[in-house]
Symmetry: C2
Subunit: 327 residues, 2 copies
């Protein structure tokens, strides 16, 4: 049995990336009508995370806001140099308001979109946070939507990577995912990463699914606060292994594209020998790893500059502890 | 019978908008291997139209390059003020090289992508240019691809618009489409506008279709130069009527989205009473015009800032004259 503290404050962020439109428009609407996301047992606060990027409909102004929530940023604490990137200023502001030193929000729900065909992806950073795992399990079982779960926790050290390194595969850099994200500012955090949606486009279908997932999260939290016992469960997740980059030429330009047979196949098994890339000259490059992987974030627009054609993941079943609010 | 002059020079442009990726990558490849687009009877020159925008993977740096090919721009001719937008400088450069005062290219093929589900759209500006119409007819019949034709020529004056004006419908401003486009620099011009593809994403399937369409154009031009007679034909086109904007609030933000039943239905008939928008609060707004229209460019990312939710078009059948090269 795990317990967790009662939830007093929940923040719902949109526009962490300014051109991911369903989160932007949902949060703008909730800022006009906070009633819609109110539940009796806790406070819900909607917030546009990167307002300048939203205004310009760009992912960010200077740097990716969602990698600025680091000790390096927070060393500034009260006094950010005026020359620091806009998003460093903004990360410090958000940490001051929502973080432990401020109003200490208990839960952050961060709304994102991807150009990849990820469906209703739930992103979590820990396999041991029972509260978040139970919330995710609740979404999987009760939202009425198919919700693949992407776990950004570092993989077990036994995973072999050397055999694929020559193909543009590289490991996870420290802070690449997880602890530097906006959702890490509170005790519990979750990204709702919905796609496929082009940057700068609002798709009604995705807007409605994003809305439904947020409401289902809030329903879970209210039940939790009311003392409901959430039984022991299992949860299927896709745990990150490593990223695979596009084949590139000497100018760092793509020399191949995601193969048509892999495009839009996020969460599907990729077996050794399956087509992975198609060169600009029409040659197929096959996946030559020695085990099945489950690609995610295939052909995400924002990842070209990061050197990511897709994330390789492995499928795992986590045990989720029984959970009840701490008295 | 129409005749046209033999074609000596053809330019193929990519990156007129720097984040429309299949044109960018095709042209980059052809710059490395011009042989691939060579035909015996004419010169083909590939060109990245907006290199700075391509470098930053943005639509443009200062202003939309594809609206700068105007008499207003070319008044500068030899002496563009240094304070002019980058794209004005670039338009003057391109006009000097490819236009009538320079090397006088005969045909421009301009490669674009859209986030709308436009398929293999061919955009033309005139219902009377027999050469371009015959080239388009050839693509429709011989490329093996379904190619809807979008005609940007001003609609006939009898079209009624007053009844829809209150719903965010507005007319075609002078120069909004057509004469200010890059393709207008040469005697004959065509845009290949393929979608749906998110900005900043390269989809192999679209890359391959773009490539095939360019090769089919070049095959047509070579046959034309060799004296082939192209018989009288008809051609189905979608002629622009007016644009329809999103419903907006007092801050000019969207208050409604494209209705899920209209999303991706480019080229399908929209009948009076059909769902058109869905407000952020879930209310359906129906199309209340008095005649059937054929929407195109539905939910194109780049058109949010222009106030365009989609273009209303009407279906027409054009007569295409018999064509042969002028001796």
């Amino acid at each position: 049995m795990s317990t967790a503290q009662v939830v007093r404050r929940v923040a719902v962020f949109g526009g962490t990336h300014g051109n991911e439109m369903s989160g932007v428009y949902l949060v703008k609407r909730w800022l006009q009508n906070q009633e819609a996301i109110t539940r009796p047992s806790f406070l819900t606060v909607p917030c546009i995370a990167n307002p300048r990027a939203v205004e310009r409909c760009r992912r960010y102004i200077d740097v990716n806001l969602n990698r600025q929530f680091t000790p390096g940023t927070f060393q500034y604490c009260m006094d950010v140099p005026s020359t620091a990137p806009y998003e460093v200023h903004r990360a410090v502001e958000l940490n001051k308001k929502f973080g432990a030193a401020g109003e200490a929000f208990d839960v952050i729900i961060d709304l994102h979109n991807t150009t990849s065909n990820m469906g209703n992806c739930l992103i979590i950073g820990s396999s041991t946070d029972s509260f978040t795992l139970q919330m995710v399990r609740y979404l999987v079982q009760r939202s009425g939507l198919v919700c693949p779960v992407f776990l950004t926790e570092n993989p077990a050290s036994h995973v072999k990577m050397a055999d694929t390194r020559s193909m543009g595969v590289h490991g996870i850099e420290n802070g690449h995912y997880g602890p530097s994200c906006l959702r890490s500012v509170s005790r519990h955090g979750l990204c709702l990463e919905l796609g496929a949606q082009p940057q700068g486009v609002l798709l009604a279908d995705i807007f409605l699914r994003h809305e439904r997932l947020v409401h289902t999260c809030l329903d879970f939290i209210h039940k939790f606060n009311q003392g409901e016992l959430f039984p022991k469960e299992t949860l299927e997740v896709y745990r990150i292994l490593h990223v695979v980059d596009y084949p590139r030429n000497k100018d760092n330009d793509l020399s191949a594209m995601i193969h048509p047979e892999l495009q839009d196949k996020d969460w599907h098994p990729l077996q050794p020998g399956d087509p992975m890339f198609l060169t600009l000259d029409g040659e197929t490059i096959k996946y030559e790893g020695d085990s099945t992987i489950y690609p995610a974030f295939i052909n995400e627009a924002a990842y070209y500059e990061k050197g990511i054609a897709f994330w390789a993941t492995q499928k795992e079943t986590l045990n989720v502890n029984e959970l009840q609010v701490k008295n």
